[in-house]
């Protein structure tokens, strides 16, 4: 009960805080609309907006899954070889530090207007946090567990699956949660360039027509999407790491 109720209360408080801010700070509604204006827009256009939300969600999910599939093995390589790590880190940081808005057009020129560039952008944003956290998690295996694995003559693969990964899972999930919260942004940024669907497209459209209520409606959906995805990851964590109780 509380697990569902408190987050909902949190959402309610967020909305209340926003409304209060709009009133108290006398923010003009061309800058930040009031919740009723946004709710109105949501109510009026929900069918269209939901469709665009789904477009963004599906891009996000695919990119995120790809980031896990590529990032975790990459982290295993990094954790396994100090030389590889030291050589590859600068490249990783470079890729991560490029402003994604600036490289989005390049991706579209390469890959076209389809879901490709969006998925790649989500991947680009999610990869680093996943790799960083997973590497750190894999490396933090306690000495006695490493020795145990060695003494049991566990091969590389077995050591990874049976000893290092389960131990690293709590940290891997920190990376996944950081990543999923960025993932949606990745899709949206890619949609800013070369898209005719998705919440990012809606935001650009509304931005250029000063329809702040529409822009905020899209951002509300974006946030909800992020929250849902975040809690989905958290649920996966609860199921996969039940032994790591918190203190």
């Amino acid at each position: 009960m509380r697990r569902v109720f408190l987050p909902l209360l949190g959402v309610a408080l967020t909305i209340a805080g926003w409304w209060l801010a709009v009133i108290v700070l006398e923010i003009e509604d061309y800058l930040v609309p009031t919740p009723p204006q946004v709710l109105n827009t949501l109510a009026e256009r929900w069918a269209v907006l939901l469709e665009h939300t789904w477009t963004t969600a599906w891009e996000t999910i695919r990119g995120f899954a790809l980031a896990i599939v590529l990032g975790v093995p990459f982290a295993v390589l990094l954790a396994g070889s100090r030389i590889f790590e030291q050589m590859v880190y600068p490249l990783l940081i470079t890729v991560n530090s490029l402003p994604k808005v600036a490289i989005a057009p390049i991706l579209v020129v390469w890959m076209g207007f389809g879901a490709g560039p969006k998925i790649v952008m989500v991947l680009l944003l999610c990869f680093f946090p996943i790799v960083l956290a997973t590497t750190a998690g894999l490396k933090s295996t306690p000495a006695e567990i490493v020795e145990l694995a060695r003494s049991l003559d566990a091969g590389r693969l077995k050591t990874f699956w049976a000893f290092r990964l389960p131990q690293a899972l709590p940290q891997v999930f920190v990376g996944l949660k950081t990543a999923i919260s960025l993932a949606v942004i990745g899709a949206v940024i890619a949609e800013f360039v070369g898209a005719d669907a998705g919440l990012g497209f809606i935001i650009v459209q509304s931005g250029a027509s000063s329809d702040t209520a529409l822009a905020f409606a899209a951002m509300v959906l974006l946030s909800l999407l992020s929250i849902v995805l975040f809690y989905a990851v958290q649920l996966a964590e609860r199921l996969l790491v039940p032994w790591a109780s918190e203190h």
Binding site: E28, Y30, L31, R45, V48, P105, I106, V108, V109, W110, G112, F113, F192, V193, G194, A195, D196, F201, I202, V204, Q205, S206, G207, A208, S209, S210, D211, L214
Partner: protein, 309 residues
Amino acid sequence: ESSPDLAKVTYLTSFNTFGRDAYAYVAAEKGFFEEAGFDVEIKPGTGSGDVMKLIAGGQADYGVADFSAVAVALANQDLPLTSVGMIHQQSLAALVTLEGTGISEPADLAGKTIADQAGSTVTVLFPAYAKAAGFDGSGVKFVPSAPPSLPQLLASGKVDAVGQFVVGKGLIEAAAKDREAVFLPYSDVLPDLYGNTLLTTTETAESNPEQVQKFSAALLKGLQYSIENPDETGEILAAAQPTQDAAVAAGEVKLMAPYVTGEDGAAIGAIDEARVQGVIDELTKGGAITKDVTPADLVSFDLTPPAEP
């Protein structure tokens, strides 16, 4: 639904799917493209720079971009692009302020602060604009800002004026609430400045000139139809793009109409070599162009519609 003998092409709008770019949807809806033998996929563009890259990179076959930006890009870089038809005979670029700020004519801008997209036509050609308008532009401070924030910066009084297209009147007034927007179009003092132009790759222009001309003619037919029927245009756009408002779009089209035809009554789409040279000269003076370019480097004059109607 699409007939197999139609040529599939991709077309990019200049920026998103507003009234100012609605004519492409009109050409599609009214069947002009199909009549000309095309099955056109219309994609929202994201500004001149991206449109040029996407066409050059082969992701789109045709697209629309600001002619000054095209001139700068083609002069400075090896982009395999060429103009094949002019959308706006006069540039839509303008400076906008609000009533009550004490600016009603160009000279009032002296010493003021203006926000504009970095490197936009408005910024680049401001010295030329000031000179032509006869005031001292050297004291004006330009603050580079993101396009979406321009109306808000103006409304909140952070700046005295912003760069904007003349069709953005509704946009500014939506932000400024009851205050009226005062537009100072560049075309008032720089009538030779072109607005958006239709682009394709030099390769397409050379290898398939008939196709280019057919496409250009179909698009321009849509343009013509749209400025003649702005309200219907708004509805066509809203039908194609549910997030757009028909009335707002119609308003934009009405504002844009005089810039499409131009003052001298040139045919829709026509490009004049002398005027192009004039644009190049101004951009060179302003420092935006540093290399030698000729009008022929920018425009395929043999493919453009004839100047006289």
